[in-house]
Symmetry: C2
DNA sequence: ATTAGATTTGTAATGATTACAAAATTAAAA
DNA sequence: TTTTAATTTTGTAATCATTACAAATCTAAT
């Protein structure tokens, strides 16, 4: 049980979110799989060791975690919502060929939008699309 | 028939996209309704004057226009894809209270992501979320 | 006018997400 | 520790946006 996961558990406690077994498992999964997984991937993988898990619970848990600000919702493309436990300042690149989502460094916080005086900004997202180096060299 | 719409027609021609009646109507609609409409809104509104229009045609047309780069696809939130005929450099703000999407000015082109050497970037998007001034004053 | 190709249309299928209510679990009260 | 109330989980059904598909219609070239 690494310290990073213990910190996450502590964070849940502080936000008054019950530490149910299922929630801890989902949180642990996100902590160990930083590939921006979909609900279906999270469910399928966890179901192998937790055969009673319901997909609805995965949805519920992700909603709770997202509302509390512990995970970031990535809607770079419709039809597949993805989740990221890394809520720090970074951007996302989706390869249109292989579908992989890469993190990249960009100073989102310093992004100032002109014409947003009086707006309350709760979240900022930067999404790029294109072709990743792997796919470029494979000439897909 | 304004000049802006004539320019769009010309652009379609140059890209070798057939100027069918339905396509022109969708294009004209997007040109006149710069509120980032959903497929359903486009379909419902156009259907009033073009009762034979099929929703599938709206989907098909938007795909053609998006692939040709004439409209921008906005997936700021899953479950509702929106379309924007303004493909110029700008960002989008979605109000979590009223759902309205606002344009704002941000220099997207100058956004450089570190860690993207060797990546081919085809599109850049900046999405903000929060509460708009209207909703803030209405205390929704 | 014929013909081939492209586009439109309506309907059915898909697939992600949500709604819902019963069952199980957890937390609080007694 | 029991009792009770509240929360969470689960499975199934419903919803809703989007896509697949094939027949009908339209367009453009010959
Ligand atoms: Mn990320
Ligand atoms: Mn816009
Ligand atoms: Zn790739
Ligand atoms: Zn608003």
């Amino acid at each position: 049980m690494n310290t990073s996961f213990e910190n996450l558990k502590q964070e849940l406690k502080e936000k008054n979110i019950n530490l149910s077994y299922q929630r801890l498992k989902v949180l642990e999964y996100l902590n160990n799989n930083r590939c921006h997984p979909t609900v279906d991937k999270i469910y399928t993988d966890l179901h192998k060791e937790l055969s009673t898990l319901s997909k609805t619970t995965v949805y519920n848990t992700l909603r709770v975690l997202a509302e509390s600000g512990m995970v970031r919702v990535i809607t770079i493309e419709d039809n597949e919502t993805r989740y990221d436990i890394n809520v720090e300042n970074h951007g996302h690149f989706k390869c249109d060929s292989c579908g992989e989502i890469y993190d990249f460094s960009v100073n989102i916080d310093s992004l100032i939008g002109e014409g947003l005086d009086g707006f309350m900004i709760n979240s900022k997202n930067v999404y790029f699309n294109g072709i990743c180096p792997n796919c470029l060299s494979n000439k897909n």
